[in-house]
Amino acid sequence: MRICIVLIIMLSAWLIPSANARTLVVGINESFQIIQEAIREANLHDTVLVRPGLYAQHSIVIDKPLHLIGEGKPQLDAKHQAVELFVVMADSVVIEGFTLQNVGVSFLKELAAIKVRQGHYGSIRNNEIINCFFGVYLEYATHYQVVNNYIVDQADDEASAGNAIHVWKGDYLEITHNTLSGHRDGIYLEFVNNSQIHHNQSYRNLRYGLHFMFSNNDAYSANEFRENGAGVAVMFSREIRMQHNHFSHNWGGASYGLLLKEISDGEISGNYFVRNTIGILAEGANRIIIKKNQFSLNGTALDMKGNSLDNEVLANNFLANTFEVVTNSQNNNNHYERNYWSGYVGYDLNRDGSGDEPYRPVNLFARITDQIPAATLMLHSFFVSLLEFSERIFPTIIPATLTDQYPQMQPYAYDQN
């Protein structure tokens, strides 16, 4: 009986505030025309509903827990001024259903359509953010969700582009199902830990589709990165899991599908690297497991610099890449096993599924072009074939221990979705 009473009291305590929560409506024929005034009048956890229309209002400060809903995608326009549209300075703020546009460029301030300055347990979802310098900008945010936003810029001067989603110091974030295009980075994370980034589409960004700096224990999966300066850059970070992503059409002198720089203890599995200048460039990458990925039609599939140690390259498909593995060192401190290499021409006389001779994926010409890029001109020439042949008989330049002892005779059935 006593438990029952306690339960009833608890339940009613939980129900009462929500019964009291009001909805304040903003619109031409409503009690509020100015969004900021509705926010000022609102109590904690009230809802502010904004009717359809065009609002030339900006610098709207949300300083208490509130639910802001746009009905029929009302438009907020900054008219290319150096101002922000929403500035969040409280916990538990939800912003959804708005069209935010034309936040101006400032070289001194990182202006964003929605800027969160210190906030926890908030959510930004279902918004369209068009032609804004920065889209969503989080500072010191934890337990935040950024979901299903469409953030697109058409910066004519490429260098004046900010990032679509930018996080400076965050923890426990979820960034999912967003479409990001035409910015400097699609998603930029600096000092961000314990976060999940999945099902985003990031394309035609000037620098990277996704960019980690000084971030640990994060995971990104099932994203698509195409036609960016480079697909993803993971730098100075630890324990990043990268699974089931597509990296495609990242072409150009400084382009990679995935750039690894000073990172350790991660996993790269089940990804597709298709038509990139370099599939993965690893510099100072240690103890990373690279398995069950598909590398197709890249200039170089995997460029593993000599300062990368103890990485495991297992059961990947290397299909029709110009160069399979490139390195700048004569030593090899990484392990390659049971990959399928379309360049392998050995036999499998004992029918165990792997070739009888080990395979050396680094060829001489790859080593030469690594040092003299202009030599690419000689690709497929008779002279180079001759060199390759003699190097195979008397190996001197390629790393002697970089071999796959069990090269697969058949590609793994990872494709193709």
Partner: protein, 136 residues
């Protein structure tokens, strides 16, 4: 005759090259150079040009290998995209300036008080090098 020799000598001096933001790649950290408020350039004795996305990358490069150079330049934060000789710049390390490689280092050409946060300490190029080297 002397004119020709002088002309030849002068041609050994390489002119600085503007950074193509969004296209050039940092020689040290391999990132694409994209933030027009930051960036630097080193011209070697032989006239080869290396570009950087942040001044801290030049510091790191010079700490790792003793590259001989004829000129060092950096982008001024208060005049984006523009390269100035390193000696003509002053530097500020402050969380207000989020430089691409995390050193919070910005370079200024003749800054006004509006450009800078209050109570900032202005550093010379040599002081920056010493400070960052000790931090590592």
């Amino acid at each position: 005759m002397i004119g020709i020799i002088v002309g030849l000598l002068a041609s050994c001096q390489t002119e600085p090259e503007p950074i193509a933001f969004g296209k050039d790649q940092c020689h040290y950290c391999k990132m694409s150079i994209a933030d027009p408020k930051f960036g630097a350039e080193l011209i070697t004795d032989k006239g080869r040009i290396y570009k950087y996305d942040a001044t801290e990358c030049v510091v790191n490069q010079l700490a790792e290998e003793s590259t001989r150079y004829q000129m060092l330049l950096a982008v001024a934060h208060n005049n984006p995209k523009q390269l100035y000789p390193m000696d003509s710049l002053v530097f500020v390390i402050s969380p207000e300036f989020r430089s691409p490689m995390g050193a919070n280092l910005a370079a200024f050409y003749r800054p006004t008080t509006q450009d800078l946060p209050s109570n900032t300490q202005l550093l010379s190029w040599n002081e920056v090098r010493l400070l960052l080297k000790n931090r590592k």
